[in-house]
Structures are given as structure tokens and as C-alpha cells.
């Protein structure tokens, strides 16, 4: 599905629309009114994040700037932009598909890697993505075991998903290539930050960048849409 996304020409958007399975269309309708950016919670805490500019670049063929940006990975998926958009552009789906496109170009794998465990350890093993296991020691101390609370409420100590159901979602995962994909991002080798040059450091995301995620090489991402200042004061 993503092979065709390798083409970075200015007709990228036209070619890429059918690949995205019809979820995303109508970017060319964009009025550049900026309502999306005005109400955006992600833009409130990351001032360089700008949905309007991303759509502008997408339609005008400046796709490399979008795919190699850090900003693409800052969307909150709140759908506020879709709710407020006068021409009904479903921007969160654009971000979703653009992230897949960015991954096909080798960007952003380190972020996906952090989330892969929820699919592998929870979704495919228990059939439930959020596990009852608690990592925060404060919560364990204060609230105790969630199974006890369930029991007190007269429910079974744990929600059970039948073995058959788990086998079925694993089968779906195997057949659709999701399992293969997860194997691909199996192991992470962390990037050695001591080798970093000041120029890269300036633009680098603050946390350590893995250079290689499983079998996939990741590239640096850049703040392509401005200086990443701001934070709580701007919210």
C-alpha cells in the first residue's frame, strides 16, 4: 500500500489519494482560513505545529517538508480541526496517512516503536489494549489492586476475553501483515548521542534518537515549521 509513496514529486497528493483508501480527500478544497490552527490544542503547546501549513505543503507538492518534520508527529488526534473546518477536511486522517508515508521514507519509527509494545504485549495477547497492570507506585499504594475493586463491585476479578477471540485477532494480524510489521521494528539500537554534531543537536528532538529500529533505519526529523518554543505559558 505504501510502495507508491516513494514518489516525492509535486503530483504526490493526486497519486497518493487512492492509496489512502479513500479516507482522505478534499485537501485541495482548503481555504487556508486557519480555523484548524486557531483551535488546535497541539498548536497551543507546540507553537511551530501548524495544520494549515501542512495542508498547504501537501497540496502544493512540498511533501518532503511535511514527511521529514517533527511537527507531523505532534498532532493530538482530537478532531477539533475537522469539527471546525468549513469545508469538512478530515485533517486527523491526513496526519494518520501522512505518518504512514513518513514511515515509508524512514522517519518517525522511534515514536512508533514506543507504542508497538501495547499492540504486541496487550492487544494481541489479551485482546485488551490497556492492561490492568499499574506502573505508578503511588497509585498501587493508594488505591490497591484493581482486581479487588472489581471483586467488591461484584464483578469477576479480571475481564476475560475468550481464547477463540484472541486467536482470531492474531489470525487477522498475521494475514494483514501487522505481525510482520511488528517483527520489523522488533529491536531498538539507541543512537549514540556523543557522535552528534552541534548543528544536528540544535534541531534534534530533546530525547535520545534511536538510529536503528529493528530492521529499519530511522532518519533525523526536523522542526520544519519554525522554532519550537513555548509550552505551558502559551497554552
Amino acid at each position: 500500500m505504501l510502495e507508491k509513496a516513494n514518489d516525492w514529486s509535486d503530483t504526490f497528493y493526486d497519486k497518493w489519494k487512492p492509496i489512502a483508501m479513500g479516507f482522505v480527500n478534499g485537501a485541495e478544497k482548503c481555504l487556508q482560513c486557519g480555523k484548524c490552527t486557531g483551535q488546535c490544542p497541539a498548536a497551543a503547546v507546540n507553537p511551530s505545529y501548524n495544520p494549515r501549513k501542512i495542508i498547504y505543503d501537501l497540496v502544493n507538492g512540498n511533501i518532503k517538508r511535511v514527511l521529514s518534520s517533527v511537527e507531523l508527529w505532534q498532532c493530538f488526534f482530537c478532531s477539533g480541526c475537522f469539527a471546525t473546518c468549513p469545508v469538512d477536511i478530515n485533517f486527523p486522517f491526513f496526519v494518520f496517512m501522512l505518518r504512514l508515508g513518513a514511515m515509508s521514507q524512514g522517519f518517525g519509527w522511534e515514536d512508533v516503536k514506543q507504542l508497538e509494545k501495547y499492540a504486541e504485549k496487550d492487544y494481541l495477547q489479551d485482546g485488551i489494549t490497556v492492561s490492568p497492570e499499574e506502573r505508578n507506585p503511588y497509585v498501587i499504594e493508594e488505591r490497591g489492586d484493581i482486581a479487588d475493586i472489581r471483586q467488591k463491585a461484584g464483578m469477576p476479578r479480571q475481564r476475560e476475553v475468550s481464547d477463540e477471540a484472541i486467536a482470531e485477532i492474531n489470525m487477522i494480524s498475521d494475514l494483514s501483515g501487522m505481525t510482520n510489521f511488528m517483527k520489523k521494528i522488533g529491536g531498538v539500537e539507541l543512537y549514540d548521542c556523543s557522535k552528534c554534531t552541534p548543528k544536528i543537536e540544535e534541531k534534534c528532538k530533546s530525547k535520545e534518537l534511536p538510529k536503528k529500529v529493528g530492521n529499519v533505519k530511522t532518519h533525523y526529523r526536523f522542526y520544519n515549521y519554525g522554532v519550537p518554543i513555548g509550552g505551558a505559558d502559551n497554552a
Partner: protein
């Protein structure tokens, strides 16, 4: 509080289309089951009390929304998983009731997409036929908030514990009103149906500036970029504390509940921001008014606002 009748953007035609069934497929949510069991027990009890029998299936898995929007599963992988879950309800001939905004949007959006796209539906069914299932696209998906609004007359008849003297603020969350702006029962910018339910149950509504803002989870941002996520939650929660000072904040989505509740402790620990705000789900609100026992409400699982919980619940005669 604003005059509700003037501002109401509730879409009566969509509300009128919601059937009142005798039985409904209760779509279990991950967060509700494993972090806030009160949502699950209250949903079952509230639906039973209002004359709708919930049907629970052990074959139902997570909706798959998280792994999809975390880009671990491509739409080609999550589409069959969605179809599989919906087909479980179709086998029983039931409609689906989701308690989570995420589940609702994801099932609705992908379900609609398959219904309007025969090619995709066919390939999905090819996969499902291998495990002896079939997706037909017959079941409708309703949000529990919409169901409760539809059943508001029955709620009014059954209020056993009027919520007099309590102040309620609301947080509607993004993916019901915003993500599903054509399927939801209310306007995305000025929603008011929870306020109406609160009034029916005898409570008082309070408003605050950031009521329409996202909770701050940002789907995966809470994992990938926690500081930014905290920034946003702090802004939201401080607005609640300073402007509304409610006894409860009502949310439609367990994932919002988890964020707004758990981040209170994180904000205290990391930034020394003191917040004491009880966050509850809309089914727990209904459970309160319909007189469910405190074990079934299961407020023990909530982390933030325990002192406030005690005060507020004592006010309406629950020994907490």
C-alpha cells in the same frame, strides 16, 4: 450558566432515530474494564434499571483504535478487526452501545467506510469467512451518552437519589462530538445534552472557559511527549479548579477520565500543582442518581479528588 434552551444545538432528528431496544450489545472498553471498573458496573446496572438489557460477549476484543492511530496497525489490519467485533452484535441481531468516544468513532467511521465501499467489504469478508464470521453492516453503533439522553424520561421517573446541592462541570471529549460531527446528537462547539441530564437529576451546572478543550492525552502524545501533554492537562484542570470549582466533572470517555484523573497526581508530583477534582463518567453520574450502592459506583479506583469525593457523596447521603 447559559440559558440552555437558547443555546441548545441538540439534533432532534438524530435523537428521534435512536431506537429504544429491549436488548443492546454492550461494547466493553479497555480503560473501563481495567482501570475504572465502576464505568462497567454502572453501565450494566443503569441500562438494566432503564429497561434495556445489556448483552455482554467474551468474544469481543478491543476496538483496535489505539494500535491503529499509533500507526502499528495499518487500516488494512484494523478494518477486519472492527468488522469482526461488529459481526458479533449482528449475529445476535443487536445494535451496539459504546461507552468510550474512541470505540464509538472508530467502529462508526470504519463501519461506515466499509458499508460505502464494496471492494473493501468483500476483502474484509474474505478474511472473516476463514474464521466463520461475516460482516453485513446491519448494526448501528450508539454512544451511551446518546442512549441516556434518549432515555431521559425513564431516568426522570427513576431518580432515587436527587443530586441536590451538587455542582457539575462537563467535559465532552473530542471524538464523539468532533470526530463524529454528523453522527453525534449534539453540536460540536456548544454541546448541552449532559447539562440537560444533570438538570433532570437535580444537580446544578457550572461552566468554565476551557470546557471545550481536549483533555490533553493527545492519543499517543501522553506516551511520546509527556511534558506537552501535561501542559495541556494542567491548563484545563486549573481552569476547572479556579473558575468552576465543581463537585464532579462529568466526562463521556474513559480515556479522558483516565487522563484528567491520573494527571492530577502527576501534576502534584512533578510541578507541585494542587488539584482536588473528582472526575466521573456519565454512567457513574446516572448510577449516582438512580441510587446504585457505592460498591457498584466504585469510586475507589479514582485517584484524584478523593477528599472532595468524600464531601460530595456525604452531602447526598452516601457514607463514603
Amino acid at each position: 450558566m447559559h440559558k440552555l434552551d437558547k443555546l441548545s444545538g441538540i439534533r432532534e432528528e438524530i435523537v428521534a432515530d435512536i431506537p429504544i431496544p429491549e436488548e443492546i450489545f454492550y461494547f466493553q472498553s479497555c480503560v473501563a474494564s481495567n482501570k475504572y471498573p465502576g464505568i462497567e458496573s454502572c453501565t450494566l446496572d443503569v441500562l438494566n434499571k432503564l429497561g434495556v438489557k445489556p448483552f455482554v460477549s467474551e468474544d469481543q476484543t478491543c476496538c483496535g483504535g489505539f494500535v491503529t492511530f499509533a500507526n502499528v496497525a495499518a487500516p488494512t489490519a484494523s478494518m477486519p478487526a472492527v468488522a469482526r467485533n461488529i459481526s458479533l452484535a449482528e449475529e445476535e441481531g443487536l445494535d451496539i452501545c459504546a461507552v468510550c468516544n474512541g470505540c464509538w468513532t472508530f467502529l462508526n467511521e470504519f463501519g461506515h467506510f466499509m458499508n460505502g465501499n464494496d471492494e473493501v467489504k468483500e476483502s474484509v469478508n474474505m478474511m472473516l469467512n476463514m474464521m466463520g464470521r461475516e460482516y453485513k453492516g446491519e448494526s448501528n453503533i450508539f454512544h451511551i451518552g446518546a442512549m441516556l439522553y434518549k432515555l431521559k424520561d425513564r431516568i426522570a421517573e427513576n431518580v432515587e437519589r436527587p443530586l441536590e446541592g451538587l455542582k457539575f462541570a462537563t467535559h465532552y471529549g473530542c471524538h464523539y462530538l468532533g470526530g463524529g460531527k454528523y453522527g453525534a446528537i449534539d453540536d460540536a462547539q456548544h454541546p448541552s445534552f449532559i447539562q440537560e441530564l444533570v438538570e433532570i437529576m437535580g444537580g446544578e451546572n457550572v461552566d468554565y472557559t476551557a470546557s471545550g478543550e481536549c483533555c490533553g492525552t493527545g492519543f499517543t502524545q501522553v506516551i511520546n511527549d509527556k511534558e506537552k501533554s501535561l501542559d495541556h492537562s494542567q491548563m484545563k484542570l486549573e481552569s476547572v479548579r479556579d473558575e468552576a470549582d465543581p463537585d464532579f466533572v462529568i466526562v463521556l470517555c474513559p480515556y479522558c477520565l483516565s487522563q484528567l484523573d491520573r494527571m492530577q497526581q502527576q501534576l502534584d508530583y512533578r510541578r507541585d500543582v494542587k488539584l482536588d477534582i473528582p472526575i466521573i463518567h456519565i454512567t457513574q453520574l446516572a448510577g449516582l442518581a438512580l441510587g446504585l450502592p457505592k460498591e457498584r459506583l466504585a469510586f475507589d479506583a479514582h485517584i484524584g479528588g478523593q477528599d472532595r469525593f468524600k464531601k460530595a457523596l456525604n452531602k447526598i447521603g452516601i457514607d463514603y
